[in-house]
Point group: C2
Chain length 418, copies 2
């Protein structure tokens, strides 16, 4: 089945409209309007906007305030007579989302509140490849525990967690394959069982969702990026290359949640062997190791983040081998991206992860390939830009995905609280 | 904006639920249940299924029957006492959709009724490349007029039309580019203006929608194909190669409706020049002309349908050059399809159009490439199968898209009628 996540509009009640679901629907509609408003709306404004009666809006708002989802903004001073209207905003001390990430050379944890603000963020650098999955996840639990304590100190309650993994994850949270971590068939939820805050369950918000890192990084960019680009391809350029496809504000996950493996699009069908078993995959030309090798830095054994910084410094200094390597990588990336744009008709491509700091050099050759190869490029230009978030995108996107679930179905959180 | 078509579930009313939209919603819900039922449901059964009261269901059904959308099935004889329950079915003499197609070497028109049955279908073979767009469309109007007369004779009313064109179409029906027809910036609706039945307007059903042929062919396959494969890639292999992406029963159209240009995915970045201006596009290896050339039949100048039949006959007879050509084409197609599956995580690939009769020879090399190149192939096999419909898929899909729009929003049709 095809699934969408990160949808801010609540699902319609199944079948015809009944009384119970009507309350849930109205809660979600009113909360959604408060979340989307540029200025804190009043109850009267919400009634006018939604077509609900004043009395209904007042009752719904009362529930939302009692449930710590919504709070009254400071009143605006008024010069005229009468009580000043009090606007409504999302609570800064209600439920929050915990975002976690395990990657090849770091662990991360972050907390995002209902309004989307990042309230806590820790990154722990370490090469995780020598560790067993259980050892790596034990370290992650330490970070999560610290994040929970920080959240509690700020008056926030963690309502759920999402974990980003650089690999293919099934619906049950089993990591089928994370080639660059060396993980295969790792049952993450079982390994994390019994660790609060990863097991506290809120109705409608699963305690822990395990999801592909590139998918969550795309959600992070949706969260942090400029308004208006609600459909884009977000490419995470690390040791491996993954992509998240965001369509109209929702993550496109594919038939089984395994979409976005752009790194394994064949670039040259008879090219070099890839770790996946295929030949000539994009990753073998534009993955971090391939770029370092082409730049003559193969043996340098730099950690991933340092490698990117080093490449950017050398390119900045005009080092010819590095400039050539980045040009070739950008061209290869552009060929694959042109194929994707021809297939999906996306108008925005975001260079994320390790590609973000290299975007100044990757972007021109990517644009050249697009202009030569995309059928509609002449009358409908494609925007290519660096991501707003860098390596932290996946953890932020993970935490944000928890928050979006609460906003989409506030009744679940309210029931839990009661 | 990202749009979905062919959705059988009605859209939720915008914002909160109000009285007017509630009636529309209930009409769509009840009609949807009748359309989806395996056996004609009774009013009591519909009430139980939807949670609506018996009285509401009866009123809704009365509206649907009066509007010729629904009719009572023949009563099942009962042995017990009491009136036999009368099941409800979609009307066979209500509104219908007109599907049209302009392609390189044929024109087509077909009529599909509310239950999805093809009630009329004409194909007119002619090389349309020497004609101006206005001349080609004039001939199409003749076919459409005949189809309307046939529909009227069977008691059907055409509620709208959709036209399939092998090219890129914008939201206003302007054909930006149809390379194999030689069309560029052709304002189809303006050229067809004033021609009934293409201009009769029904609220909620635009009189004429112009759409990419490969997209509509995919909808045709959705309509005619086996149940359960509601997400698939449908490839139309003609002189050009296009694809339609169906996700959970809906056509994925991309940011501007130009998705599916699989023929211009780069296969060998430095390969032969393509008509699109790019190099090494898939189409230059697996388009019909490329296969004929590889098989040594380049100069034969066969019309498209004959060419495919001829290739199939020669392959059947074991002609080595043809078998080799089909094997190479299948391998090239498989490389591109593997990239698409890695990107989108689809589990079904349908070989349509001119590929359908050649599927016996194309399928094995396509499967080989998938098994070598798709990351998830080992534990999640991809089905590759020939399309159920051949070249007629686009016209059937076009007519079906009109019918789906009526089913999704019956209130529009009922208002029109009144």
């Amino acid at each position: 089945m095809w699934q969408c996540q990160g949808v801010s509009r609540p699902d319609a009640p199944a079948g015809a409209v009944r009384q119970g679901s009507l309350r849930e629907w109205n809660l979600a509609v009113v909360l959604g309007r408060i979340a989307a408003a540029d200025h804190p709306p009043s109850r009267a404004g919400l009634a006018a906007e939604t077509g609900l009666t004043r009395a209904t809006v007042s009752a719904v708002v009362e529930d939302l305030v009692a449930g710590r989802l919504v709070t009254e903004a400071e009143p605006t001073p008024r010069t005229g007579a009468g009580r000043p209207a009090r606007g409504l905003v999302l609570a800064a001390d209600g439920p929050a989302g915990l975002g976690l990430e395990v990657n090849v050379d770091y662990l991360a944890a972050c907390v995002v509140d209902l309004a989307g603000r990042v309230r806590h963020h820790t990154v722990h650098r370490a090469d995780l490849r020598p560790l067993t999955p259980a050892e790596a996840l034990r370290r992650l639990v330490e970070l999560a525990t610290r994040a929970r304590a920080e959240a509690a100190r700020e008056g926030l309650t963690l309502a759920g967690a999402a974990l980003a993994v650089p690999g293919l994850v099934d619906d049950a949270g089993l990591v089928r394959l994370a080639p660059n971590l060396g993980w295969r068939d790792v049952p993450v939820p079982a390994l994390l069982a019994g660790h609060p805050p990863l097991t506290a369950s809120v109705d409608g918000v699963p305690p822990l969702v395990v999801e592909n890192e590139a998918n969550l990084a795309a959600l992070g960019e949706l969260h942090a990026g400029p308004d208006g680009a609600a459909s884009f391809l977000h490419i995470s350029g690390e040791v491996g290359i993954g992509a998240g496809i965001v369509l109209d504000g929702s993550l496109f996950r594919g038939a089984r949640g395994w979409s976005g493996e752009i790194g394994h699009i064949p670039l040259h069908p008879d090219g070099p062997a890839c770790r996946c078993g295929g030949r000539g995959c994009l990753e073998t030309y534009t993955g971090q190791e391939a770029i370092l090798a082409a730049a003559g830095l193969a043996g340098a054994d730099l950690p991933a983040d340092t490698a990117t910084t080093r490449l950017a410094e050398l390119a900045e200094g005009g080092e010819p081998a590095v400039l050539r390597a980045l040009h070739h990588a950008g061209s290869a990336l552009g060929v694959a991206v042109a194929g994707v744009v021809n297939l999906l008709d996306l108008d925005t491509v975001v260079l994320g992860g390790g590609y973000a700091p290299l975007a100044a050099w990757l972007r021109p050759p990517v644009l050249t390939e697009i202009s030569h190869r995309v059928l509609t490029a002449a009358w409908s230009p494609v925007t290519v830009r660096p991501a707003v978030l860098g390596a932290e995108a996946a953890a932020v996107g993970a935490a944000g995905s928890v928050v979006r679930r609460i906003l989409a179905r506030p009744a679940g959180w309210l029931t839990h609280r009661g």
